[in-house]
Amino acid sequence: MTTVAQFWNRNRIAGAVYVLLGLLAVLYFGVSNPAKNDVTLRLTADTSLTFGARPVIIVLGLVTVAVGVALLAVLTARSHFAWTAGVALGALVLAFLFWGTSLAKTLHTIPVEALLYGTLIAATPLIFGALAGVLCERSGVVNINIEGQLLVGAFAGALVGTMTKSVWAGLIAAGVCGALMAALLAVFAIKYLVDQVVLGVVLNVLAFGITGVIYERLMQPNAAEYNNAGQFKPWEVPGLSDIPLLGPVLFRHNLFVYLALALVAAITFALFYTRWGLRTRAVGEHPTAADTLGIKVRLVRYRNTIMGGFVAGLGGAMLTIGAGVTFNKEMTAGKGFIALAALIFGRWSPVGAMLAALLFGFADAMQQFLSSVISPVPSQFLQMAPYLATLFAVAGLVGKVRAPAADGKPYVKG
């Protein structure tokens, strides 16, 4: 569907939407149901900024309108779409946050530090999941199984961590179990050519079932012996953790957050600057071409899929031994699917996926904050926020994205 040369191209449509949403924000949040109380932004323990919420909201709404107008009038090039979306929607979200806080029943203070910390914590398992997706899908294997891989990771982390009394052993076991799950995916996808989307969903069911049965009969009745792993203790990065605002947000975590960020950097580097990365991308884009150059397509896919499973397994472990809580049935609660959406929203790039994961993490943290101070929006509707954000992101902002060309297509050698 080519619309570029027509008047209503993607930028203009978005522009019109922004103008409409901006005006609505100004009218509703600023006029008809206006913010009343001042809102305090608490940046650190002793630094706070207090605003009159109403003028801020009106300004933010007008920013959205302005971006919309600019898109309609001048910024018609494709390259302007992404950043304008960021600005316009960011302003809208902030306006909403200010409005909700201002009209909250209890407090009118936004704890910025906690909000950002919460964002990162919520985003980390998603980052692991999305990176698993990057590894698999860049080589051409669709991974709908992220959910299951996270789950077995969480499961094995708790089980082995308890049995060996070592969180490190738990971590390794989590990775290995994630990799085993992925190996199943790989065998059936690559060798038996089973439809990969279907396969991923079915393997998720298998993961639910196996972990559920063992949990119910083994881990739950004998929790002390099988489901009582320790926790990775937080490690404050010396020096960096004392930076105001950034320090507490970024540098006072345990292994998992650092590991996730390091993996984003490592996989980005490996994918675009190493032999492995070049071959991976070639296999994901044009396996036949890779084959004609002597690259073993199936081997690359097996290897990458299993590596992806390992990464997802590690991410799963964050949910148990990373957080210091016990394993529970279906405890991943759909995180694997959000990770999948982050992968797509981030256009199969590690950094993009991370940013998308952070976006969902923020939606989650903001929802929790607004519910806790009793904002005027019913809590259930706030709970929908991350899902609506995903829906909107995938449908409105991404649309038809360009996946690796051979993603999901089994390679059948003639």
């Binding site: 089973v194 063992i214 009969r217 036949t288 759909g334 999948l340 050698k413």
Partner: protein, 423 residues
């Protein structure tokens, strides 16, 4: 993309498709029977997939059985114990499974188990048809769960907000459920058509949203049952409920009109797929959207419509729960897991309407049996998940079944057709 690596399909002399040259069929009935048993036919692959799944599942049965696990703990001291206890555990579990699904001498009515199987199978048929129909159009409808939620909601709302005479009230409630599900299915359809957003992601998100909406709705004033303090809505009126079929027999048999409607739905979908222009369009779009577009079909509209129809079917599935079973009201878990189970059912039935019905009966039997298995042997009901997943995987990989059981090459042993498109 990679024509070159494939065998040259475009050989001028080849007019005979390769399917033909499977061993010639003998003509004596017994030989045919043996032939059928040793060839990887669709039927055999399905049967063997179930057998293999039960075998693999027995490992979990053993793990989850205390005595068996204990015996394995001292395996080297008394190895026979371990095998004996394991055998008992597996035997007891699968006997219970059979009793719960087919016939249980302990039940007051001989029809008791069958009634349960049919009760579980009815909603699964609807959601299975929903997923299957979408598969045929090349779409993967993971959203049957959310669509069923909306079907259940609309059905019950019509059930207690309206006051109509018998039969009519039920029909109106069912139509409302159909509309509710269709609306919720239309959203991912139109998003796919207009923006290209992949239905796998959008339907999963819509499932979550539907679930949260349901929890919100049931405790709202005017909807919540005023006599109750828990999360339950008012009940649908008597007239709107699906009548029980075996009420005249002894015992409390739950099977209701839903299973009849499910059979009709399978027939309807079968007609739609094979005898309607819409069915032709949806199959063409599923087979090759580009060719369908070139042939003048409106692919985008087909996607939206297919998802709406699929949603409507799932909506009926939801209503068969909320209007067919106690408490005839909305609760947060009113539709159980029928949407997700529908995926399995559709795959079991190979996305064919009558196959879906058969798959739903199998799955319904498993679920009914799992209740008994749990009540008798304490085998967790999650066991059903494991069996479901294994059966589907084995069916989808006939080559595996063929190798394990050393079957001869047959129609079903070739790799399965792609059901859903990648990204």
């Amino acid at each position: 993309m990679t024509d070159e690596a494939k065998p040259p399909a475009a050989e001028p002399e080849r007019t005979v498709p390769p399917e033909k040259d499977v061993a010639p069929r003998p003509n004596r009935p017994f030989r045919i029977f043996i032939e059928e048993l040793t060839t990887a036919s669709t039927f055999m692959v399905t049967v063997l997939a179930v057998v293999l799944a039960l075998l693999v599942g027995s490992i979990l049965v053993i793990i989850s059985n205390d005595s068996a696990r204990e015996a394995w703990g001292y395996f080297f001291a008394a190895p026979l114990d371990a095998f004996e206890m394991s055998w008992y555990a597996v035997r007891d579990a699968y006997v219970a499974l059979f009793q719960g699904a087919i016939y249980d001498p302990a039940k007051p009515s001989a029809w008791g188990s069958i009634s349960e199987t049919l009760t579980y199978a009815a909603p699964l048929t609807f959601t299975g048809l929903s997923v299957a129909l979408a598969f045929r159009a090349g779409l993967f409808n993971i959203g049957a769960q959310g669509q069923a939620v909306f079907g259940a909601i609309f059905g019950v709302l019509a059930g207690f907000l309206l006051h109509l005479p018998p039969v009519l009230h039920m029909l109106v409630a069912l139509v409302c459920a159909l509309i509710g599900g269709a609306l919720w299915g239309f959203i991912p359809g139109i998003l796919k058509a207009k923006t290209g957003a992949h239905e796998v992601i959008t339907t999963i998100m819509l499932n979550n949203i539907a679930g949260i909406f349901l929890i919100w709705l049931v405790v709202q004033k005017g909807f919540q049952n005023p006599e109750r303090t828990d999360a339950i809505s008012k009940s649908a009126e008597e007239n709107a409920r699906l009548p029980r079929l075996l009420g005249f027999l002894e015992g409390d048999l739950r099977v209701n009109l839903a299973i009849v409607l499910a059979v009709l739905a399978a027939a309807g979908v079968s007609w739609l797929l094979n005898r309607s222009t819409f069915g032709f369009e949806l199959r063409a779009v599923g087979g090759n959207p580009d060719a369908a577009k070139t042939a003048g079909m409106n692919v985008a509209m087909t996607y939206a419509l297919v998802m709406a129809v699929a949603g409507g079917l799932a909506g009926l599935g939801g209503a068969s729960m909320s209007l067919g079973l106690l408490p005839f009201a909305l609760t947060p878990g009113v539709i159980a897991n029928i949407g997700f189970d529908g995926i399995t059912v559709a795959l079991l039935g190979r996305a064919k309407p009558w196959g879906v019905l058969a798959g739903a009966l199998l799955m319904g039997g498993l679920q009914a049996g799992a209740v008994k298995m749990n009540a008798v042997g304490g085998v967790p009901t999650d066991m059903v998940y494991v069996l479901q997943a294994l059966i589907v995987i084995f069916i989808a990989a006939p080559a595996l079944i063929k190798t394990v059981f050393r079957l001869r090459d047959g129609k079903a042993s070739r790799s399965t057709a792609t059901l859903a498109k990648g990204w």
